[in-house]
Amino acid sequence: MENREFNVVGKSIKKIDALALATGEVKFTADIEMPGMLHIAFLYSPHPHAEIVDIDTEEAKNIPGVVLVLTYRDVPDTLHTTAGQGYPEPSPYDTRILDKRVRFVGDRVAIVAAETKEIAEEALKKIKVKYRELPYNLDPEKAEESEQIPPEDAYHLLPTVYEPSKNLAASVELSFGDVEKGFSDADFVLEERFEVQYANHCAIEPHAAVAFYDERGRLNIISTTQVPFHVRRIVSRVLGIPLKNLRVIKPRIGGGFGGKQEVFLEQVVALVTYMTKRPSKVVFSRKEVFVSSRTRHPMITWYKVGAKRDTGEITSLYLKALMNAGAYGPHALTVMANAGSKVLPLFNKIKNLKFEGFSVYTNLPVGGAYRGYGATQGYFGYNVMLDMIAEKLGIDTLEFFKKWHIKKGETSPIFEELGEGKEGVSQIIRSCGLSECIEKGAKAIGWYEKRRKRIKNGDKVRGVGAAILMQGSGIPKIDMGAAYMKMNEDGSFNLHIGATDIGTGSDTILAQIAAEEIGTSVDKIIVYSSDTDFTPFDVGAYASSTTYISGGAVLKCAKKIRKEILKVAQEMLNVPEDALYIENGTVYTRDGQQKVSFQDIVIYSLYTKNQHQIQAVASHIGLESPPPFMAQFAEIEVDIRIGRIEVIKFVSAVDCGKPINPVLVEGQVEGATVNGIGYALWEDYVFDEKGRVKNASFWDYKIPSIRDIPEIEVIICETYEPTGPHGAKSVAEIGINGPIPAIANAVYDAIGIRLTKTPFTPERVLKAIKSQGIKL
């Protein structure tokens, strides 16, 4: 594929569902009510680790309006992972719907279904549970010697490391060259430990699920999911309901960010409806979202880097990552592995490199997929180390970045060696606009005017810092998306895709890709997505895959439709195919003598001669995972008296290949950036000594509001990715990875303090000032 003039792609077409959302017409999962619907509530463990010795539900069952009280004795005990990943999942099968043992404060003990939510909640109070408390551990560094957390019979499907008796949920090792020799060849070696914290996705829509039987007796599930097809597969297996009897529908979703790639409510509503033959619904409270859904995995990283003073060559790099998986292991392997695989290829000329990653169980809330997916955790230390090396070398950090970052035509051995639960896929970078991102971003932030200037205003000192990043576009040779299209009598098209729009605008993007290829406009494309009965398969919305993978399927499908249209036109006009071209819904002969509209073509095909439906279906897997690139810049001001960091301006310059819809690209980057700033400065879980979350509300867990945001600038540095649909790569995740290191590097620029633990609260900044001493 090559770059060309586009009619629909590259245009900021209005999101096709935006008006329905803005006018409140749309029904989200929690808005669905049905006659006779049961409402579900959960009883949660008050202990970090305990065995249920006795559980008495009699009194709860006797409350009028209570229909079902379920304990571990009453539900299927199939081990599974709640990670909504492709099969076989790279996450361990360590979870049951309910278990005799509870593993963190907030783990499930019982399920109540009642006529109303209020009755269900009342009944929870009447369930009497006797626990035998077990030793527990909240410290990932002490996981190995602690009481075993996962079930004795937990297992995993892939040939990866899994040692439940040591609380080891996963580990990976990757090395090439000779790391020790690399360090001895270095003129200087730098070492540092970094740590990032728990965080919540905080989609404004809480998790919810609905189940009901349709008129044919099939069990339907509507849920706030990023992965409807994985939901169907997992629910079928866990409950033993034949897959053909299940239908999963994703309505509009109020934000996902990875938090809704988890399947933990669908099996419960399905079970309640299966047992009662009545519709059922569960809607999480905000507190439940914080405590009992999924979180960002906290991670400790140790970096050791050696470099040559004259050339600046990094002779050796060692990264050890210790990830806290929490009480269960969804994404325990892959998030941790991505801290290496999405980070380390960026400086691809390092000859000696070693990465060791460990994921461990603790008696704390459960980690899961979260925008950035390991890269966020890995890039903190990586970019701070690069800033430290550049300083040691006495050169500008940006020059150091530009000299050594991976470029078009180059590769990294890591692509091939480190994949998702198996080996990776080797690839050559076919598009890279990172140097341009660095240059344009530097200009926008005023790098050369502000860097190393330490402009003071009373107690406040300003600084600028930068970070560079890459991510991926789907999981190569694993992720698959499919699309179906048919043509209607007015020249419009139905586009049916398994792809899952969770608010990102993928329905719009995919319509643009189709319209461009067919030669029509977006308003002629009627998009229907994410319904396991009526759309073809798609892995779902994760791993920055939809534009690239599902978009690839839509492009193939549209190419076939285009061919079909031309075939009919050829028959109608009695000319060879190559004598025809399409423009704006009409087929013309190149000699300008004849034309026929899409409408005429489809009427002919349906009613006139050789009658058939113009239609096509196509599947697509990514053979590579071309990384988008980004350079992010923070200008900050530190109040050295109170330790407060204020971000004055933030610039994100991104190469996502050809931006299919620039306003939606900006929206992805702006949203990710602000989420990243919140993670860098404020967002954190506060635990008591038993691992109970003490700040499970928006009042106590601070996410950015409109008042907290600095001036934000997004710069699109367009490239063309030859393997992507119309030149596109992904964009959704990358922007969340840079705020932490960019801000940390800016703080160093301002006051000479290296921050190594997030969030950068005033307390931590003051402590660092005291321990490191201000070098102004």
């Binding site: 935006a18 929690a30 404004i204 905000r286 928006f698």
Partner: protein
């Protein structure tokens, strides 16, 4: 108990339990455009106009607002006849997942009624109680400014 609420210009007699919040009474009677994001008065997804003032409906006891005028986002416009603020949010790219949008639009409506030409700081103050996790608020600020122009033009 029974009570009359004037919702989007229509008098509605509704049966409800005395402890119910306005949010629940609205949602249980089909006004699901009023969203529940936190139930603790922090996220702003449930903002409605109560006698012209924006309130978090999860923090209002329904029994205390009988006979009062309540406006939800569907009272401003519809998909067939959208309000200029709704159009502005669409055009500016301020709608991503759309879950916070009804509340955002109501808060914007209240702001523009008071102040037809808001500056950045006015917008920040007025929308501080409406959380959004998707947009980073950049396009939302743009949408409010665009809405200000549109509303003045339309005289709404």
């Amino acid at each position: 108990m029974r009570g009359v609420f004037i919702i989007n210009g229509q008098r509605k007699e509704i049966e409800f339990a005395p402890h119910k919040r306005l949010l629940d009474v609205l949602r249980e009677n089909g006004y699901t455009e009023v969203k529940e994001g936190c139930r603790e008065g922090e996220c702003g997804a449930c903002v409605v106009l109560l006698d012209g003032k924006p309130v978090n409906s999860c923090q209002v006891l329904a029994a205390s607002v009988m006979e009062k005028e309540i406006i939800t986002v569907r009272g401003l416009g519809t998909i067939h006849k959208p309000h200029p603020i709704e159009e502005a949010f669409v055009e500016a790219g301020a709608v991503q997942c759309g879950f916070c949008t009804p509340g955002m639009i109501i808060s914007t409506y209240a702001l523009l009624k008071e102040n037809p030409d808001p500056e950045d700081d006015d917008i920040k103050r007025a929308l501080d109680g409406n959380l959004c996790r998707c947009t980073g608020y950049v396009k939302i600020t743009k949408a409010v400014k665009l809405a200000s122009k549109k509303v003045k033009k339309d005289g709404k």
